[in-house]
């Protein structure tokens, strides 16, 4: 029963975060929304582990998701701050800096 309520709450939260990611007028709304979705995904995998009855394996997977999601978030933030991922844009840009 508790797990059912938790799963439903997680799904509703994911739907809300997805709506914000689709509508979000600024980039930062979308970054926050996709970050929240990543967190909800991790929680959902952990809860599913308890539903299936093998929590240890699923929690390991969930932890790896957190680490991978962090790479994506860092890349997104770097692009939104600098406009690229650090590769040389053109010769004039390289001369200016």
């Amino acid at each position: 029963m508790t797990l059912t309520v938790t799963l439903i709450a997680l799904l509703v939260t994911m739907a809300f975060a997805l709506i914000r990611a689709i509508k979000g007028p600024t980039v930062y709304d979308r970054i926050l929304a996709s970050n929240a979705l990543g967190t909800k995904t991790v929680l959902m995998i952990a809860v599913l582990g308890f539903v299936v009855g093998d929590p240890e394996l699923y929690i390991d997977i969930a932890l790896m998701y957190v680490l991978i999601g962090f790479i994506g978030t860092v890349a997104v933030l770097k692009v939104s701050e600098f406009g690229n991922l650090g590769q040389p844009q053109s010769h004039t840009d390289a001369e200016d800096t």
């Binding site: 799963l7 990611a21 689709i22 995904t41 599913l48 890349a75 692009v79 650090g86």
Partner: protein
């Protein structure tokens, strides 16, 4: 029952994400939509008990491919050009192809049917023999790495070629060291 309901809601969220990725014009937002799509697809794979596939989807879809797409956006700019042609004919072709594919699935065995040919052909042999023949505890690993080792080698060649192509597009020029400019000042 609970898992089926979760599956349905997740599939609806996947469809919404895909439609949003098609309709948005800001490529930065589209790249993030692809990341969200991969996250939701990974949960679907977890629900289907395919933990290794889910793990690959998360590593490749959320991690590497988001980084590659963002690097490309850094090179090409983040706004889509307005489309100048009408899309009715391509839409008709896609709808017709999709209808033909759905018609084709009607002849397939039901999902999870134990009498399906895919579960009767070589799968029982792999499941019963792989611990003795290969010594690996995971049947998926033994099929990928041992029974179909040459297939996996070919796949790796294809993926390596794709990676080289992407790197060639992104440019491998050496970065200028900022130290030179500092000494000039």
């Amino acid at each position: 029952m609970l898992i089926e309901a979760v599956n349905i809601v997740l599939l609806a969220l996947l469809a919404a994400t895909a439609i949003a990725a098609v309709r948005l014009h800001d490529l930065f937002a589209v790249a993030m939509m692809f990341g969200i799509y991969s996250l939701l697809a990974a949960v679907m794979f977890v629900l289907l008990d395919a933990l290794d596939v889910a793990f690959t989807e998360a590593a490749v879809g959320v991690g590497i491919s988001t980084v590659l797409m963002l690097a490309t956006i850094g090179l090409v700019g983040r706004h889509e050009l307005p489309s100048t042609h009408r899309s009715l004919l391509p839409l008709a072709v896609v709808v017709a192809t999709g209808a033909a594919l759905i018609y084709g699935t009607l002849d397939m065995p039901f999902f999870g049917d134990p009498g399906a040919p895919v579960h009767q052909h070589v799968a029982p042999y792999y499941i019963s023999q792989s611990p003795h023949q290969t010594g690996l505890p995971n049947v998926v690993t033994s099929v990928l790495a041992s029974y179909r080792g040459y297939d996996t080698l070919g796949e790796l060649a294809v993926i390596f070629t794709a990676g080289v192509g992407v790197l060639a597009l992104l440019g491998l020029r050496r970065r200028k060291r900022p130290g030179k400019h500092r000494t000039a000042q």
